[in-house]
Every structure is written in structure tokens, then in C-alpha cells.
Point group: C2
Chain length 195, copies 2
Amino acid sequence: MAYHPDFYEQTKIKIPKAGESTATDSGTMAKTGAEQLELHGDTWRVCNFVDKKDIIKIDSATMKQKVQIRDCKGVGIQIESKVNSVIIDNCDNLRLCVNSLISGAEFVNCRKIKFQVKGTCHSIAIDKCSGVDLYVSKESKDVEVTTSKSGEMNLNFPKTDEEDGDWAEVPIPEQFHHNIKNGVLHTRVSELYSC
Amino acid sequence: MAYHPDFYEQTKIKIPKAGESTATDSGTMAKTGAEQLELHGDTWRVCNFVDKKDIIKIDSATMKQKVQIRDCKGVGIQIESKVNSVIIDNCDNLRLCVNSLISGAEFVNCRKIKFQVKGTCHSIAIDKCSGVDLYVSKESKDVEVTTSKSGEMNLNFPKTDEEDGDWAEVPIPEQFHHNIKNGVLHTRVSELYSC
């Protein structure tokens, strides 16, 4: 699948080998801690990267491994192999592109996220986030997106099965109406989202 | 209608007359500004009250007037007359009891709110809040509650028309599932809330 226009290739920052100790030496330090890109047990940790021009590429992760991205701001991250899952916590202005996920992706406490799946992904969970643009492949069109306490979210998907065809963008509802009928609470999506 | 058990009577702090200038002199100052309980145009402003044992009572407001409650923390407020609407902005740990509202109530950026309507209220809007317990009278059982980016909300209503009867409490959904079917996004309430 082609990259969505919002994603673009850049040179890679570093590819640590699995098990390699990797405190990176590339410049900027996040206020909250040192840059970290390393494998702990079965989890790749990508932490504290701030305002990087180069895309951070992870290409040696395996299907049994997870990727945890935390406290990153103004960076692009690319996971080139199929991994179990990704969790993204407290990130701002992040572009994340994954190959395929066996389980799914989880976003918590994030703002301004662009997330593309090139292959398969079954579920995306979004909690306490604002500004999340999702781009799913035709293989992942049936992805289940779960949201809570979040807003300004959009789901983008290819309109047809053609490579390089047009994309559709739909807003994910963030406003809901509730009222009691016969003693039971009924909930519906706000008419803001009616077509 | 009787007060809900979570609400209780206490002595009143002050009842300013309409138009009276009222910077209150009663103790604690909020960090963000001086306590304010006064009428500006058609809006009663109740601002910057922090940790008050006494309930703040507003009993001279009219149906054409609004009440704006802002930056209050750890206080109880009672509006004894019928007013047009209330807006509650950036409050923590607030108990608010109103007689009746012509329009409705709006909560923005609040945490730990208890809100009771003794008479009528058509709509309650909750935006970017967490922990909102609503108690509506039998006259307001058909209230429309609109929520966005909020969580930990409950709607309490009398089970029967009897005075002093039991109350029902239902959680207001905060988690939703979305997926694409035939190119259109469908949204449903999380099964967390199925009975």
C-alpha cells in the first residue's frame, strides 16, 4: 500500500539490534528524561524523543514483541515489521506508521496524532486524546475503534480497493445524547454527525 | 420534592440583593482571584469560592437571569428561584442544587460535580468533565443529557412518582465503538453498558 500523503519517508535515526543497549547520543534531550530506544523483555521502549527531523525506524521487532511509545513530541516513528501491539502514552504531535499489528494500537493522553496502518490491525483504542487522525489500509477497513473521553478524531480509509485510489475521511463522533425512556437510559450519536 | 440524600441544608453564606456590589469578606481567598458573588447585566457570577462549609444561596435571581459559576472548589451552591440557565466552568468538588431552569445547565472542565434539579430542566450539557452525578426530579425525567470528552457520569432519577421514593442510578456511557460498514461509520455504545 502506498503511504498516505500525510506520511513521508525520511532518513532513519537509528536501528538498534535486539538486546543492544542504546541510550542514543543524537542531540536534543526531552525535559522529562533521556531519549530511549531499546528492548526491555518483549517490549520496545521509545521514550522522550522531542522535535526530530529524522524518522525513528524500528525494523528488527518481531511478532511477539510490543512497542511502547511514551513522552514523545514532534516526531515520526515507523515500525517496519509486524509486531504484536503498540501503546502510545502522553505524546504530542506524533506521526506513527506501522506495518501490521497482531493485536492493536492503544492511545492514551495524546494530542495531535497521525497513525497509519499499512497492513492489518484489528483494534484501535483511544482514551483521553484530542486530535487523532487514523489512516487504515483496505485490509484494515473493518478495524474496531474504541474511544473514550476523546475528541477531534477522524478515520481515513481507501474508498476503493485500487492502489493509490482516493481516501475517504469520516469524523469519529465525540458528542452523544442520552435520555431516559421507560426507566432505561438510551444513548444516541449527536445529530452533528448525521449525513 | 425532597432533597436527594447527597444534598443537605446548611446555613446560607450571603444573599446579595440584585445590583448590590458584593465582594464578600468571608475568609478564604481562591488562589486565582477574589471571591465574587454579584449580578452583571443579566448574569449572576459566582467565582473563586474555595472550601466553604456554608452553602452559597442565590434566592433573588429571576427567570430572565443566568447564573455563571466559575473556578469554585469544595462548595455547595443553591439557586432557590427559577432561572434561565446555569453554566459551570472549571469547578472541582461542587454541589449545585437548582430549583428550575428554563433553558438548561452546562458543565465545562469540571471534576466531581453533584447537580440536583428540584423542578424542571430540559437539557444538561457536559463537556470535558469527569465525575458528574446528576439528580433529576420526576418532572425532569425526560431531560436530554449531551456529553462530550467526559467520563464517570451518572444519572439519578426517582423510580416512581412517589415523594421520597427510591432513586435509580444509571451510568452514562463514556466508551463507544466505531467501525466502517459499506463505507459509512457506525457507532455503538460499549457493551460495558449493556444491561
